[in-house]
């Protein structure tokens, strides 16, 4: 489903370019649940942003669902994010002056085929937040806000869900509940990539990719490990 080949990404001017990703090649299959781990500054967030079509690689190629992503223009990238990719952020990133329902419907503003209110209520029920639909973000707990954010990521029926430290601002118990929601989505067939520095969170995924200094340091499948144990 996802194929990165020799992706490099550097920031800054020409005089002192800072390499965030040195040379990353990666294959992700449909329905995988992958955790990307690494220390801060390792390049894991950069990798997630490239996977999410928020940023383009400086070099290398990115193919998503058989479509070359590098080479798309800004409007095409926006449309791709709108239709194909859902995002969940560490600090939830809800619009503070919009209700839960309005937040969930935000992607519809940027679509030819906006989701209906019923669509929004369906995904809110899926994350257990239908009863909060008229509440403002300031009236909700962190865990509730993150559930609304997940509903917003799901409302366009994306093929790929990207989560950047989704439990980073939550206590352990609440974080665990959010991971249960993601695991449930994975079981229903959604492809999920999450970035974390928390090994406990990473252990919920099937596959863990470790990034160090802009390169893939290790790529382990839990399923493979379990087979080895057997």
């Amino acid at each position: 489903m996802i194929s990165l080949e020799h992706v490099k990404k550097s920031y800054g001017g020409r005089e002192r370019p800072v390499a965030a990703l040195s040379d990353v090649s990666l294959e992700l299959g449909k329905g995988e649940f992958v955790a990307i781990v690494g220390a801060s500054g390792s390049g894991k967030t950069t990798l997630l942003q490239i996977l999410g079509a928020l940023d383009l690689p400086s070099e290398g190629s990115y193919v998503l669902n058989g479509q070359r992503v590098d080479g798309l223009d800004d409007d095409e990238l926006s449309a791709l994010r709108n239709r194909t990719i859902g995002f969940v952020f560490q600090s939830f990133n809800l619009l503070p002056r919009a209700s839960a329902l309005e937040n969930v419907l935000t992607p519809g503003l940027y679509s030819d085929t906006p989701p209906t209110r019923a669509d929004a209520e369906l995904v809110m029920r899926q994350v257990g937040m239908l009863h909060r639909s008229s509440h403002m973000p300031s009236e909700m707990s962190g865990g509730e806000q993150q559930r609304i954010a997940i509903a917003r990521a799901l409302v366009m029926r994306p093929q790929l869900l990207l989560a950047d430290e989704p439990t980073g601002n939550l206590d352990a118990a609440t974080g665990d509940q959010i991971m249960n929601v993601l695991s449930e989505l994975h079981r229903s067939g959604l492809t999920i990539v999450l970035v974390t520095h928390d090994p406990v969170v990473a252990s919920r995924a099937e596959r863990t990719i470790t990034i160090r200094d802009g390169r893939i340091a290790s790529d382990e499948r839990r399923l493979a490990r379990q087979e080895a144990v057997q």
Binding site: G52, S78, N93, R97, L109, Y110
Partner: protein, 413 residues
């Protein structure tokens, strides 16, 4: 690419932001609204004053296609000063003008006495007594609410007849018809033959309706017993040539009065245009000042809008990044931020103009002020405000839209 229009969504989002951040929206729009209000009000008063001046001059002078000749030199130039002791203008001068200046079609003459005593039905008071030639009413274009003007036959006969102003009629005759009634004015009994329609107040504010007009020959021979006149009104065949005609009258009278430089003129000629232009100049100075106050408020309002929108483009980077992540294009972000400024400007223009119009109407009806809404100015100021919103909002919106989604999201971490 899709043909999805970015504007409907941008308007909805902008309206929601405006509604839910009322303090900030107020801060953006208030100065703009004040600017529109100031321009609407000041031009309304200015416009009203200008029309008021014109109207009162028209009431006083009657007609605009005339030249006024008065005794007294240029040092005393101004409006008619009836009853002055200057005696340098006489019927012979007027006859000579009529005979030799081709553009003067007709001339009326007036002798005036202020504070002439009036008595009737046991009531007494004072009035302005005019001795005027019979053509005076026609040249002024006076209309009558009762009766008719006296005739040149009355004049030749030195008839004791009078045309009275509406104030005099009301004061001395009440609801009864004054026509055919006697009135004692300036020590002489006269019979009322006509009542003038009300003229209102003159440029000085005094009523133009407290007057009594009697035939010129009657004041000349019977009441004032003098030959000099206080005013000659020259009706022009071609009003556009008033300046040339004024020059001809000037040279003719200088010759007749044997005036050579450096001796100063003992008469002066005025045109209604010149009088009004002098008033209008004062008026336009004020209007210019008022206009700049409003203009300044609009300019400051534009700077405030631009400033707050630039602040928003920075402060709301997380919102921008999030919207981009869920699919907003650069045009979506541009449209959303731009519409915020445009809608605030539109609301400010509507509120400012609305309050201005309401205050103008209230002032006009409650305080009977001479103010009048100038729709071109009010609509122009509103359109200008909208234009300021469009311009002041564009650059911050462009900045917000140019933000790369990945950079906008990173700052929030």
């Amino acid at each position: 690419m899709s043909a999805r229009s970015v504007w409907p969504g941008a308007c909805r989002t902008a309206l929601r932001t405006i509604r839910r951040t009322k303090g900030r929206s107020l801060a953006m729009g208030l100065t703009l609204a004040i600017g529109v209000l100031a321009i609407t009000l000041t031009i309304a008063t200015g416009e009203g004053a200008r029309r008021g001046v014109e109207k009162s001059f028209r009431s006083m002078l009657g007609a605009f296609d005339v030249l006024l000749v008065q005794p007294g030199g240029p040092a005393m130039r101004g409006m008619a000063r009836p009853g002055s002791s200057v005696t340098t203008l006489n019927p012979g001068d007027v006859a000579a003008i009529l005979a030799t200046v081709p553009n003067v079609r007709e001339a009326s003459m007036a002798q005036t006495g202020f504070d002439a005593g009036v008595e009737m039905n046991g009531k007494s008071g004072t009035t302005s007594l005019f001795g005027v030639t019979a053509n005076w009413f026609a040249i002024r274009g006076d209309s009558f609410q009762a009766g008719a003007p006296f005739t040149s036959a009355d004049e030749s006969a030195m008839a004791r007849v009078a045309v009275i102003g509406s104030d005099v009629a009301r004061t001395y005759f009440g609801d009864a018809s004054p026509i055919g009634q006697h009135l004692r004015v300036g020590g002489t009994d006269v019979i009322v033959v006509g009542v003038l329609a009300p003229n209102g107040a003159g440029p000085g504010g005094a009523s133009l309706d407290n007057i009594v007009d009697v035939p010129f020959e009657t004041t000349r021979r019977r009441i004032f017993n003098r030959d000099n006149i206080e005013l000659a009104t020259l009706k022009l065949a071609n009003a556009a040539q008033w300046a040339e005609t004024e020059a001809s009258v000037n040279s003719l009278l200088r010759e007749r009065h044997a005036i050579r430089p450096p001796t100063l003129d003992d008469f002066h000629v005025t045109s209604p245009e010149a009088l009004i232009a002098r008033y209008a100049k004062v008026d336009s100075t004020l209007r210019t000042a008022f206009f700049w106050v409003g203009f300044l408020a609009l300019a400051i309002g534009g700077v405030i809008v631009a400033n707050l929108m630039f602040t928003a483009a920075t402060a709301r980077r997380q919102e921008i990044g999030t919207r981009r992540a869920v699919g907003a294009t650069q045009r979506d972000i541009l449209a959303q931020f731009w519409m915020e400024a445009i809608i605030v400007a539109l609301l400010a223009a509507t509120v400012g103009a609305g309050i201005g119009v309401a205050l103008t109407r209230a002032g006009a009806s409650m305080m009977r002020m001479a103010i009048e809404i100038s729709w071109p100015v009010t609509l122009g100021a509103s359109a200008g405000t909208l234009a300021i919103g469009v311009i002041a909002g564009y650059f911050p919106a462009r900045k917000a839209a140019a933000e790369s989604p990945s950079a906008a999201l990173r700052t929030s971490e």
